[in-house]
Amino acid sequence: MKRASPFPDVDPAGVPLLEVEGLSTRFRVPGGVVRAVEDVSFTLHAGRTLGIVGESGSGKTVLARSVMGLLPHNADRPGTIRYRGVDITGWSTRQLVGVRGPEMAMVFQDPMTSLNPYMRIGRQITESLRWHMGLTKAAAASRAVALLDEVGIPSARLRADSYPHQLSGGMRQRATIAIALACSPRLLFADEPTTALDVTVQAQILDLLAAEQREREMGMVLVSHDLGVVAGRSDDIVVMYAGRVVEHAPTRTLFAGLRMPYTQALLAAVPRLDRPSHSRAAVIPGRPPDPTAIDPACRFAPRCPYVQARCQAEEPPLVEAEPGHRYRCWYPVAGPLPRSAPAVSPARRG
């Protein structure tokens, strides 16, 4: 028996799958407060994909986990999260238990650590099936095998009895996808699902996710540090830097005219297939700022090639360039960048 859902059976037309408004996430740590996510807002509709891009440490994972309520005890999370029109911001763990799984699911960054090494793969799938869908042991088991088969694991029946350490990295990530898909969620967070994997496997996994999304009409949040990965697979893109949204636009619009120097730098850092393998493209020089620091300046200023005095004195607000395209910069760049080299002489806004 399926558990009673707190959400309507049919969503009223036009209600987005997920609305996030002014979400901040802060961790209380001995040295102060880590502002991992600051004032983030976005909307995601069913069947669509939102790409979240940013360097390591920019708060992508924390953002995704904040939405699912998967935060440790030392976290504060002001802001509003509306899921299928219902405000779930203040929900207790007990209430969220019904949301996670059949409504939202997540594929984690690292398949080496996200599977329980002490439990057979099959069990890790069946336990949510049995818990959420009330399936019998046998039904859950055969459903688990079907799922493993669906995500492309060969001899799925045998693999269901394996422990995670007996599987390769790619297989493991497929298994975590199977786990995430088990209860047919409407919203899937894919948190850098390929970062830990071999380049050749990366495309397979991303394609698998895309196929599943299409088939199930899921909403998907695809997180990556690689703008290139997200580019062809998302409808909208949120670029994050130091916990803040620095640019947010429909994918097409973004690539037509990105405004944020950071996005530009990110784009320049995309590994290119036409370069010798393993050679990293231009890495953004410098380091992200200390997440506990609060000074009134553009967070990117220390690393920005176009930095001006104002950038160091005042934090720019998120402004709209055109409907749906927002950015956070005093001196935005205009138009797309030649894709072969980092920006050298950017045009200025008049």
Binding site: P72, V97, M106, P117, E127, Q166, C183
Partner: protein, 317 residues
Amino acid sequence: MRFVRRQLLHLVPVLFVVTFLSFLLINLLPGDPVITILGPGATQEHVTALRKELALDEPIPVRYVHWLKRIATGHLGQSYVNRQPVLEAIRQRLPTTLELMILAEAFALALAIPMGILAARRPNGIFDRVTTTTAFGLLAVPNFMLAVVLVYVFALHWHLLPAEGYTALTQNPFENLRHLVLPAVTLAAADVAVYVRLLRSEMVTTLQQDFITLARAKGLPDRRILLRHAFRPSTFSLVTVIGLNLGRLIGGAFIVEYIFALPGIGTLTVSSIFNRDYLVVQGTVVLIAVGYVLANFLVDVSYSFLDPRIKDVRALT
């Protein structure tokens, strides 16, 4: 199987070393079983005669070799003092001590596991802090003081449980349990403290693992996550310490057996040491050494039950 054989081979040198050391130690201690037997009325001729009769006039290494030879044929000898065969004495007393220790560990774990898990659920939360303080409190209370308090409350005040003594399991299981409750609780107290702390800190570490967050993301309830996902991976130090703890447990059992007048290996060993009843001491030393090696063997085996990865590694070697 190969693993088992290797473990058993370990036992041999351990037994040699332990029995030789104990033989040496007790023989070098001042005092003499002959004086224990003869008492203050001893005369020189009688002492000499009895020493010869008990073969105590030979040098220590020779006696050790004799003892080894005898033990190789399965004879542990008999007590100098009451002439009881050592094996019989051990057989009579082993069940008490085993029961006492098993029960104590069962109590300790029955209390420590839920407490450790709950404490780890919210590190530094109210429950965690109360448990930590209680645990340290328990650690600080000496066995015998706890025994006195327990006896006062449960035996003298409420008349719920006997203050001392023992009834064999085969004779009356219920009475047997009643007699062992207070000693086992006394023995368990310090262990509870250690186990709670250990389990808690390992649980806290485990709960920060990715796979736990994944389990949360699957929408599993807290209870299931704690018990099914976090508990097993958090038991390694606990299992290790339970194995190592056997030594402390035996030491504790000695005191507890004495206080509660339980006829166990502890009281046997202690009185034999006092009486310089060498062969009985040797017998119990062999028993304890074998028990120790066996317990740690079981710990090793249980690792591979706890972690499937270990079994695979072991299969390879």
